[in-house]
Structures are given as C-alpha cells and as structure tokens.
C-alpha cells in the first residue's frame, strides 16, 4: 500500500517534479517511425488469412462460426461427375470490411486449410476490392506495397528502457 505522500516544504516537491522533467530530456524516445521502420510481427500474430484450396473439404464450419459474418460459402459452378449428376462445390470467400481477425475460423477448420499470415496493414483502392470471392481468396493474401523498402524492426523488453526496437533481418 502506498502511504500518503507528504513533504515538509512544498518547494522541494516543486523542484523534484521539475528535476524529473529535466531527467527525461536526456532519455531516448520510444517511437516506431512508420513507414520507414515497420514492425516484423511475431509468429502467432492473427493477421490476414491464407486459404489452401486443395485441402478444403467444403464443410462450412468456418462460415458457421464466424462472429461477424465475414466468411461466406459461395456456390461455385457445376461439375459433371461420371454418373452425369451435377455436383456443386461450396468454397469460402471472405469480406475484409467485416473481418475482426479473431481467428475462430483458423482454429476450427478440421483440415487446416486456413492459416494466419503476419500481414495487417494493406490499403485497398476501393470498397469492392475488399470483398474476396473464392477465386481471389485462393490466390493468397494481399501483399503490402511500400514506396521505399522499409527497415524491419522487432520489439523486445529491456530492463532500463522498457520496450526497445531492434533491427530484425
């Protein structure tokens, strides 16, 4: 428990506050200068989603569990089987305007067809570009384009300075 702070002469408290302010004039800053320095995200980060078409079994569990209705199953074409019956495949598509990056779809997929990649800062040109139909979804997650290639940094804890950002290559 903290005791009630008290000091005999108020002037000492004033000088101590100003002294702390002056001390911080000589300590380093803690900003990440985006976009010249970009943080490389750790392994388990829940970023955008990559879809492997070959492993998918069209069970639809990802669309059933999505809390924001971002994953939807699309009826994709008809393919004739050998008996002549039309077989309709269902494939998932994602709507990035609704996705909340919770990762429930990745965790529930029974075959592992969905996985997270560490990309989160993509900018799109139009609203429709964010609605990924299945054939766009299977091409892979969007790639970030920077004007100049940035320096990659990674965050680490430090005893003296809290968070420091060291280069990660």
């Amino acid at each position: 428990m903290t005791e009630r702070p008290s000091s005999a002469i108020k002037l000492f408290d004033h000088l101590r506050a100003i002294g702390t302010g002056i001390k911080y004039l000589f300590l380093p800053r803690m900003t990440v200068r985006y976009p010249e320095e970009v943080m490389k995200l750790p392994d388990g980060y829940r970023g955008m989603i990559k879809y492997h078409k070959e492993i998918c079994i069209s069970c639809g569990l990802c669309a059933q569990i999505c809390p924001a209705n971002a994953m939807k199953m699309y009826l994709e074409g008809e393919s004739q089987t050998s008996e002549g019956k039309a077989k309709v495949k269902r494939r998932p598509g994602i709507n990035y305007t609704r996705c909340i990056f919770c990762g429930f779809c990745v965790d529930i997929c029974p075959t592992g067809a969905l996985e997270h990649v560490g990309i989160h800062d993509v900018a799109f040109d139009s609203f429709e570009a964010q609605l990924f139909k299945p054939k766009d979804f299977e091409k892979g997650p969007p790639v970030v384009e920077y004007e100049r290639p940035p320096k990659l940094v990674r965050s680490k804890m430090d005893l003296r300075r809290g968070i420091i950002y060291e280069p990660a290559d």
Partner: protein, 388 residues
C-alpha cells in the same frame, strides 16, 4: 425583478474532455449547482444482439464495449457459459486465465490514470500512461496473437499456451514498470498542483457509497474492503496471495492512490502465478477427446488448441446461470438464460460503469466548474461500457 444567475452549460459530446456522453451543468458564477448526466449516446444494443448470435459468437461481442479491460469481460461470460454447459477448465488453464486478467487490470489502470491526467491538464501523464500501456499490449500480443481484443478464453479452457521465454520477458517488463511508477510519483502524485486539485475534492462517505451501490476502486477508496476476488473467488485466486487496497479518505486523491496500489498488487499476482503454474492440458477433457488424433502432434509443437466441431453449434441444456468477476473498474455481473437452442433466450450484463453513474449527480454538487473534470477522471467512468 428576477435576475438570471444560473447558466446552463452543455458539456456535450463535442467537448475535449467529456468522453462520449453529455453532461448538463447548472452553474452559478463559478459554483456548480447541479449536474445531470445524460447517458445513452453510444448505446449499441449489445444485449439484444446477443439473442441473435450463437454462444461462441458472443465472445467477441461481449469484449467490445469495454475497450481497455477485455479479458475480464471475456472471463465473466465464459464462467457463466461453463456453468450452463457443465464443463470445467483444467488447472493450467485457470492459471493462464488469471495471468491474462491481471495483465488487463494493469493495462486498464494505466489508461485510467492517463485520462485523469489530461483532464487535469498534465499532458505528460497522459502520454506516459499510454506508453506504459504499450508494454502490456506487446506482452499480450505475444501470448494471444492480438493487441487488444483477445478472445482468448473459450468454454473449457484457453486457446494458446505460454510461449518459450515468456517468464523472463515478463520479469523485465514488471521491473521496468516498477521504476516508472516511482517517476509518476515524483512528477504527478507529489506535485503540489495535483495535490491542491485533488485533495478534499469529491468526497464520498462510507455510508453513501454502500447505500448507492458503488463498486470497484471508488468503493475501496471510501473504506469498504469489498473485492469479489476475496468474497467469492474464481479461477486461480484461492491459491494466490494478495492484499485488497483500501483507503479511508474517499476523495479523488484516494481513488487515484487505490488504482496505483492495485497495479502493484497485480504485478505481485502475476509473479506468483508464473512461478506456481502447474503442467497439464489447456482444454477440458470433454472437448479434447472430440478433436481427431491427427492434430495431437500439431497441438503439442505449436502449443495451440484446435476447436472441436461442436464449438460452432453449442447447445446447452435449459437453465440459467449467473457469474460475477472483478473487472478493473468494479464488479461485473452476467446472467444467461438458455432454452435449449443455439442462441440464448436472454442475456444480461451489468457493467461497473453503469452502477457508478449515480456518482455524477451525487458528488458534483457545491463544487467549482474546474472540479468537474477532476472528479470525472477519478471515477474512471467509461461511457461505452455503461451504455453497452
């Protein structure tokens, strides 16, 4: 001839320090005669939305109202759901839940201290509060994969295990935060200007606090040692030792000091939990046996959990359940009624900010205009959490 002495000031949503709510103040010169809060500006019908979503989909919904304290809201809801379903989480999962809840408590208190500072005029404490919050965000990102809305606690356990090297980094982070708290002490708490603004301002007496039903650090700063983690313990709290921080004065300075004391107690809890954590599975047996055996190796190496397919369509038997947790701002209550289908019949959440709204009318009376932000910041009132 009647003089109009009383001005009606609308400290509305378009004001630098009113948050997302409207305050209507009646001011006579520099003295506030009456203040009425006008809540409901960010009401988003969370309770009604929950009646249209399945049980597992309510987890992200219930986290969103309270911005800084998401793990405690998540935990409260999942405790109620587990009572309905009749499952229990294994001990390692209980410890992991406790660790994340205490990290969130530290995060939320730094947020509250920062907002209090900017309302008093000290932009230094605002920036420092948000900078130190960043440390807890980075540690939580390493543990769960997201920065702010974790959705980490699911019925039956948790989603991920501790990564390698987590204990050492956490120790470094906690030691750094302890040294930072001393700097806050020197530049803000012992600053004579802060003491003049906060001491004796907005005094809440013990009888009034009990009569009005106040919760959280506001109650403990008025001399009532009530904490849900001691009264009705849950998760791993029965096995951890910590003190309940109580002060007697009841003014705004006492509320600020209670929050700083709670940050120190949370650091103590995290250290104990990381030392005492037992080994074992992180998801309950009922669900582990539903996962196909080909995922066992993946789950061991990546230290994560796959959801069994039943998670998408949980159907608890008919009944009702009730749970209480101690969120950072006070006591949080959930009440869930199920009628056997995939969506709940009734979902009710009582948030601590909603129970503290009455303090605006009760405390801000016969005080000055400049005391309105000083008292508002010390209550740690968060409008989206109160309006849901």
């Amino acid at each position: 001839m009647s003089e109009e002495r009383i001005i009606e000031l609308l400290i509305g949503p378009q004001h630098p320090s009113s948050g997302h709510m409207r305050l209507v103040a009646e001011v006579d010169g520099d003295v506030v005669v009456r203040l009425k809060p006008n809540i409901g500006y960010v009401h988003r019908t969370v309770e009604k939305l929950a009646e249209t979503k399945k049980y597992i989909q309510i987890i992200p919904l219930v986290e969103r109202p309270s911005l800084a304290d998401t793990a405690n809201h998540n935990l409260g809801y999942v405790l109620a759901l587990e009572k309905l379903l009749g499952v229990e989480a294994p001990p390692r999962a209980q410890y992991l839940r406790t660790i994340l809840a205490e990290m969130n408590r530290i995060h939320s208190h730094f947020y509250g201290i920062g907002i209090h500072g900017i309302m008093l005029g000290s932009s230094t404490v605002f920036m420092w509060g948000f900078a130190d919050r960043e440390i807890m965000i980075e540690m939580a990102q390493w543990l769960t994969g997201a920065r702010l809305t974790y959705s980490y606690i699911i019925p039956g356990g948790v989603r991920r295990d501790l990564p390698q090297g987590f204990e050492d980094e956490m120790e470094k982070a906690l030691r750094y935060l302890e040294r930072r708290l001393e700097d806050y002490d020197r530049i803000f708490i012992r600053n004579p200007v802060t003491r003049a603004r906060l001491e004796g301002v907005g005094v809440l007496k013990k009888e009034d606090a009990i009569r009005l039903g106040i919760v959280g650090p506001n109650l403990r700063a008025s001399g009532v040692p009530y904490d849900v983690r001691k009264v009705q313990p849950y998760c791993a709290y029965p096995e951890l030792e910590f003190d309940v921080v109580v002060r007697e004065e009841g003014d705004s300075m006492a509320r600020l000091l209670v929050r700083i004391g709670e940050i120190k107690q949370s650091m103590r809890i995290i250290r104990q939990a990381l030392k005492q954590i037992p080994d074992g599975p992180i998801l309950s047996e009922n669900y582990l046996k539903m996962i196909p055996p080909k995922w066992k190796e993946f789950m061991e190496t990546k230290r994560r959990v796959k959801f069994p397919a039943i998670m998408a369509n949980l159907r608890p038997p008919k009944g009702e359940a009730f749970s209480r947790v101690e969120a950072a701002r006070g006591e949080l209550i959930y009440y869930v009624v199920s009628d056997g289908s995939v969506t709940p019949y009734r979902f009710r959440m009582v948030t601590p900010s909603f129970r503290n709204v009455v303090l605006f009318e009760h405390l801000i009376r016969e005080c000055r205009v400049a005391d309105i932000p000083a008292i508002y910041g010390s209550l740690d009132y968060f409008p989206p959490e109160a309006d849901r």
